[in-house]
């Protein structure tokens, strides 16, 4: 019998809002003629998973288990790179490693910074 994770499978409003935008890499890349199959943040995401594991905040197998569950349920219709990112954030919110309101306000700040150039 497989071990279940402790992740909360409930949908998260902030992440659902992202999905409604529909701007996943498989949609955006062809629109701009970009042939790289992975978005530019993919390597950074992998490194972040590594960092969380090595510093003990989120062990790899815990993350994988929760990621698998979320991939089969909440994010089953989402393409792979975005699904991995959403699952990681979902798990971090579920474990209170970050707070949803903090994340929402930081996203606004990050977007503002990136669009300032």
């Amino acid at each position: 019998m497989s071990v279940r994770s402790d992740v909360d499978p409930g949908r998260i409003a902030l992440l659902e809002a992202l999905l409604k935008e529909g701007k996943t890499w498989d949609v955006l890349a062809p629109r701009y003629g970009v042939t790289n199959p992975n978005p530019p943040w993919k390597t950074s995401l992998i490194a972040m998973c590594d960092c969380l594991a090595v510093r003990g905040a989120l062990p790899t197998l815990d993350r994988r288990r929760a990621e698998d569950e979320l991939a089969e349920s909440v994010y089953s219709d989402v393409p792979a790179p975005e699904r991995q990112l959403l699952a990681l954030v979902h798990i971090m919110l579920s474990r209170s490693l970050v707070a949803e309101d903090n994340l929402a306000s930081r996203m606004r700040a990050v977007r503002s910074r990136l669009e300032a150039v």
Binding site: V34, A47, L97, L103, V110
Partner: protein, 250 residues
């Protein structure tokens, strides 16, 4: 000279743009959550830089060593086939900590696929780009293209032929689809002409592509050797301009 590309351009030659020209919510999300994690002390920006550097720089040398050792040590090969992750420790790769400074995100389940004279394996990840990073490093660009991922499972012999690997009809081709649960790599057949070679010599001819399964190891061919040879039937004029590009696997 600058080059511009507008989305929706339909006329003239098509060029791949380096990146999409808008800030996406997913890009913003990744940065935002990373910044909050760093501020909370879950890891440092330096940690993240080191792991990113490792992710983008690790190569296939460990995989080459594994194959060379399996060729020369039957007991080791048996252990590889029995429990590849455990056997990897004998060549200095701990899947729980391959960087030497931390735990990677790869799922720790590796299966080594042994080729025989009548069976050839090739690996793919049809969903995304799952790959045995601790042994082979980052996957090549073409491995992640939809061209390779979609076509290999349908027409493996055709795709392999495009790599210059023509598999005889009497040899079965088996495609293994990597996923989040399991990683694969190919243990090719040791080529003739390598008798009495040392492990180091053997490892030199076991290139990344041999362990993916789109090439075969051959004496004299290493990753450091420029692979392009003069075409046996060059296109008229191309031989003179240095444009001969295709070689055939014998």
């Amino acid at each position: 000279m600058s080059h511009t590309h507008k989305p929706g351009d339909s006329g003239g030659e098509r060029h791949a743009a380096p990146m999409v020209e808008e800030v996406t919510d997913f890009e913003v999300l990744e940065i935002a959550v990373r910044e909050l994690a760093i501020e909370r002390g879950l890891f440092t920006a330096e940690d993240h830089r080191r792991f990113t550097e490792w992710t983008e720089s690790v190569g296939p040398a460990a995989g080459s060593r594994l194959v060379a050792k399996a060729w020369t040590d039957p007991a080791f090969k048996a252990r590889v086939m029995e429990d590849a992750v455990k056997a990897c420790k004998e060549i200095g790769i701990d899947w729980a900590e391959p960087t030497g400074f931390g735990t990677p995100s790869d799922y720790m389940n590796l299966r080594v696929l042994e080729d025989t004279p009548t069976l050839h394996h090739v690996i793919v990840c049809t969903l995304c780009s799952c790959y045995p990073r601790p042994l082979l490093g980052m996957s090549p660009e073409w491995y992640r293209t939809t061209n390779y991922r979609r076509r290999l499972v349908r027409w493996p012999r055709q795709v392999l032929a495009e790599f210059g690997l023509v598999v005889p009809p009497e040899v079965e081709v088996r495609v293994e689809d990597s996923n989040q649960k399991c990683r694969f790599m190919v243990l090719p057949v040791r080529p003739e002409g390598t008798e009495n070679w040392t492990e180091e010599q053997l490892a030199e001819i076991v290139t990344r592509d041999c362990m993916i399964g789109v090439a075969l190891p051959r004496p004299g061919r290493t990753a450091d050797v420029h692979p392009v040879q003069k075409a046996s039937r060059p296109v008229q004029g191309a031989a003179h301009s240095g444009e001969a590009t295709h070689e055939r696997e014998e």
